[in-house]
Amino acid sequence: MQSQVTIKMAVAEVRVTLKKGVADPEGKNTLKALELLGFEGVRDVRSVKVFEIETEGEAGETKRSVEEMCRKLLANPVIHNYSIRIK
């Protein structure tokens, strides 16, 4: 018999996007490739990085610590914006 232990867990989704005005060579190259493949009407492609972070603890707590993670590692404020969604 296994005892049931409930651990509070939250999953945070972090989206790291490039700030307006920052060059996005990956996005631009992808756009060009899509055009070469014959897709019409593609106006722009922007590259975005997404991290899913599983944490123990309450949603509010998680949000705060994930904020800190973004500041300390996941985003560079010179070129990045980030948004956090707790799932």
């Binding site: 307006k20 005005g21 060059a23 990956e26 300390k72 590692l73 070129i79």
Partner: protein, 276 residues
Amino acid sequence: MKVSDARVCVLRIEGTNCEEESYLSFKRLGAKPEKVHLKQLTGTDVTSDEKRSLADYQVLVLPGGFSSGDYVRAGAIFAARIKSRLSRDLEEFVRAGKPVLGICNGFQILVETGLLPAMSGIMTEVPEAVLSTNDSARFECRPTLLKKVNRGSCAFTTKIPSNKISAIPSAHAEGKLTFPVDRSKKIVKELDDNDQLVFKYVNPEGELAGYPWCPNGSTENIAGICNREGNVFGLMPHPERVFFRYTHPDWTRNPDGAGDGRAVFESVLGYVSKKL
């Protein structure tokens, strides 16, 4: 202090791959370099024999490579690991005027730790710049020409004459030195006023010529910068790869003598012998 007593810490973690050439560049000039793993400085998972203290070294080198697979951003994980455990040691090291050199991935690490450009203070809490993806969105690997624009502050270029063009190879995908878009011009001017600009990518005539002479689209064609005191220096190209003339592309015509990168290591060892 004598050059033969100068201890050089060539710091590596998983994914560093230019430590051997960097180590040899100092070894060949008579200094005492050592390849040190970050864990030896933090004292984690190592025996007591393997433990090292940053304070025992006179020069710190962050060599090129792809530390931690360049995950998150180039240099970001190495920087985070340094900051988590060695911030204070590193600040003391820099404050003592000891030189720190970051080549390629090492430059990316210095920028991510906030040790460069460091326009005020020693280390900023968050980065003030970034080495972002090359405009070409490709890995650019070829000889590049660098003009020395530093007016004398940088400890790593004192033996290179002003405006001299050095042929030093580049090999990177993220080398575009970028500042916050809205303040970029002002920051570059401040760097220039502080004599923090060191090398710019040029064409054979010595002019700023953009791509392909500048491989990455870097702001104002900047290839390397130093801190205000000139003892922390980072650059994208690899001086350790042209220590000897015979590793230059024209080696069949000019096989003998020093390569253009050698002066960087001679300069810093000259600084150590005079100042430390």
